[in-house]
Amino acid sequence: MTRPAARNWRSTVLAVLILAVLLFPVYWMINTSLQKNATSFATSWFPLHPSLSGYR
């Protein structure tokens, strides 16, 4: 009984990984938009100091 359930969750993990790869550009768009000094030269991986100045 536990086996199929465990396999189902494994599918979910795989699905989340696929999602992460396919939605990376979307993440990158949001990530860049939240960084104040983001240029095409320096964009950090995470918006550690989020700023909404890009939207103003």
């Binding site: 599918s11 699905a15 999602l19 768009m29």
Partner: protein
Amino acid sequence: MTQTASLADRTDAAAGPGQGRDVRSPARRARRRERAAQWLFLTPALVYMAAFFGYPIVKNVVMSFQDYSVSSLYTGTAPFAGLLNYRAILSSGLFGQLAWNTAVFTVLSLAGQFTLGLGLALFFARRFPLNGVIRALLLLPWLLPLVASATVWRWMLGQDNGVVNALLGLAHLAPATGVPWLSSTSVALFAVILVNIWIGIPFNMVILYSGLREIPEEIHEAAALDGARAIARFRYITWPMLRPVVTVVLVLGFIYTIKVIDIILVVTGGGPANASQTLAVQSYQLSFKEFLFGQGAAMGNVLILISLVFALVYLRFNRAALRTGGEL
């Protein structure tokens, strides 16, 4: 015209039903009124089609036979040029490369989108927690404005500071200088194909997934009971029963892909040195960069002809699919 007829009918009716000359007319009048109603329902759609599809296409065909230039915009007249525009685009020396680029772009995009879309559809046809949520999120690339996602890709594909090269570098998959995604004539076309595949995956996945759901579960169960393995079940049950949907996806995908212009314009602009230039992009650039509207229109017509052939194929297959669907 039909309106006045129906109006006449109504005044007839108002004049009274008991008149001698109208013995068999109630039925006929009802039929005529129905006719008028049908036309009234059709008229908005017909006017819309004529204004927004018919007129531009006719105008485009006419323009392609004219020497339509910037001065034509002021004077409103353009001299007749016969086949000169077509001769110009076909003999420009660039046409062969454009046709080749368009073919490579279309075929590889379709192959990538379809394979990945089918794989994802098969994967999500299984039951597991959060299936629906994740499937819905996967549609996101489809919902973003093309110009926005193409712009993001242009940043990401930058050679020195792009995140794609950074990731490849982390995995030690790229040379130290990075892959010149957008600046090399031999890579640029594949870069735009990559972006186009990414954008096309959700469409392929959704349609193929719904096609998979149409296949009755019992058939799979029966085959499994008979000892058919997953590969055999796919080969002999899933694929044949999915065929009509596959055809629809591929033909629609073809028509959407061959006319792609926004992605290429934003990501590479057709460059470097026309390396990622396709017929659609060139049509735009002839018209709005070089202001050779006649040649741009001619190029557009070549594209329309190619698409038309595949649209006819689509309609034929669609009818065949409907027929077999009726048999099931």
